[in-house]
Subunit: 131 residues, 6 copies
């Protein structure tokens, strides 16, 4: 009872199917990944989270691939195993090169390091950054 149930398309209620169909249309693929199948146990949450994600991750002033790299950065810092896997796959599918992936990991590692040192040394924020 305590583990997640994945709702397959075949077993889904009409309101879940409506979201699944929208995911398929927006992403131009039949594949529904496990995150949504897990959320489908909670149709209201599924609808709300998907509609937010669709709006946020759409091509905008920041391009879609960059958004995926930012998503990976957050997910690594929060150490969400599922999200690291899914958004890394997504970034590669959107054209992330091997060189970009290396640089992404390097920036993430570097930021972690200075985050630790900055917090550890309790560096005061520069006046000019507070204006």
């Amino acid at each position: 009872m305590s583990t997640v149930t994945l709702v397959e398309y075949e077993d889904a209620s009409p309101e879940v199917i409506a979201v699944y169909d929208d995911i398929r249309a927006v992403r131009n693929t039949d594949y529904i990944n496990n995150f949504w199948k897990a959320l489908a146990q909670h149709p209201d949450t599924l609808k709300r989270v998907w509609s937010s994600l669709k709006a946020v991750m759409a091509e905008g002033e920041i391009d879609a691939l960059t958004k995926e790299m930012i998503y990976i950065a957050v997910s690594v810092a929060n150490n969400c195993d599922y999200c690291i896997h899914s958004h890394t796959a997504s970034a590669f599918s959107k054209g992330m090169t091997s060189g970009q992936y290396e640089e992404l990991m390097a920036v993430i590692g570097m930021a972690h390091q200075t985050n630790g040192i900055g917090s550890g040394l309790k560096v005061p924020v520069d006046e000019c950054y507070l204006k």
Copy 2:
């Protein structure tokens, strides 16, 4: 004794000055921000961290502004107040628009949300992501 001392250029040792001069040259500004002044109490660490940061944050297959946005994303997730301030300032100075900033915050917020839900529901990683 327990709070950080900021080493000003005028008081710095030759090895610290060498790093400060490199920071100024690379960034094309006389301004040395507090992070480096705090690290300057520890010259070996200063040199090591600066040389790594310089290499990692240089324009590459990922452009310099995108790297700053990724840096902000990590710093927000790790909640390093200093790094959020300094890299937000840096991103704006490299041309981040107001619209990009809004989208950056939206992606960061969205990633946090699904990180929480993904970890909370213990969603199993899709087989296809493990290949």
Copy 3:
């Protein structure tokens, strides 16, 4: 040598058995979960942590099920896989409904999102909250 050893009841020392018996009595079950079996390698820690947990998680002004939901919320944010699993099981065993579980996950996700945005935007705390 680097992995954890689980101390079974049959192999436990008298001081560990005393704790195990108390766990069984308090929880009204013979089952001892792995967390305690792992701690049992360190009997002083076992006794200290169990006696604290027993005091903290007892029915009080906050009921026992609500305490489990709060425990899950912290464990998700800290991403402790073991604790998420064990306290989710515990919450269900104490009567958490499917609807409460959905709402719990939704609140956790929402809090993560605004935590990220609040830290990212560096929103100043309202004066009225500081009184």
Copy 4:
């Protein structure tokens, strides 16, 4: 340019005012806290986050005060200073007693402790929790 601007009601655009008015109506108070004033620079994000928060935090199978306590738990673990302050104030305004607050802090502290030990010892998840 790098710090947040708070949009006051008097200076807000019509779409921001519509959200502000809804916040006032739902919360039955004229007070708009800084989080929303900061988000108001980004009207789309303001609308999206507020409509999600309104849905998630409404009285449901989990009562509104308990939801605030869960929110605090996540915010403490993520160490979002703003969110800790605002949701602690909110919980007190919804009737959290001094005794509940003590127990909330005790549960949060306890969960942090076992999160650390559980991750540190790499305790394997019990088979029965995976069914």
Copy 5:
């Protein structure tokens, strides 16, 4: 109402005074730092947390200064501003040298970096570490 009240020695109840006196005796100083004064609003929590901390931080197979450095490391990673300040002060009072402090910060920064990269790349744990 939402901010913390610090209970001064003069205003403390007998059970709080008993803890304060023990803190003074164990630490060989009259100074009671704010953490305990804040906890004193919750006497049961005060007693429980202090008795645990006293046991855990006592000289043992790990010396007291090393324990402080470990405490700092955790506090930096969790970004607890109060704990970073208090335990850094404590470590210096127990004899931490400037050189040790530099190395502590360097190790903390390094660990953060490889934590980020290790999680980001999803490096599989070596078989030999799982035996």
Copy 6:
């Protein structure tokens, strides 16, 4: 494409072999652990991270075993599964006793607890810690 590739010694380029040989020499073992094999896909990152780690983790004013324990503390707080495993193995190989390991886990757990409570109660930093 989205999972990590481990570069074995036999398949490594000359610049990767140079790092591998240095790892073997410094650690006095033929074993190259997976972290470095994963980084080897990114030779520049491999070189940079290894040279930093070698400098930081060398015996200094803090001895090498203590540095490993500090590393574990950070890794537990950041919940990096790989780093917890590898540095726990490393600490044991450098002579960490069972008693030290117990105390390390106890300190880590204790720090997590007071980190949570300190942040939750928003305890103000003592004036004397800010001097």
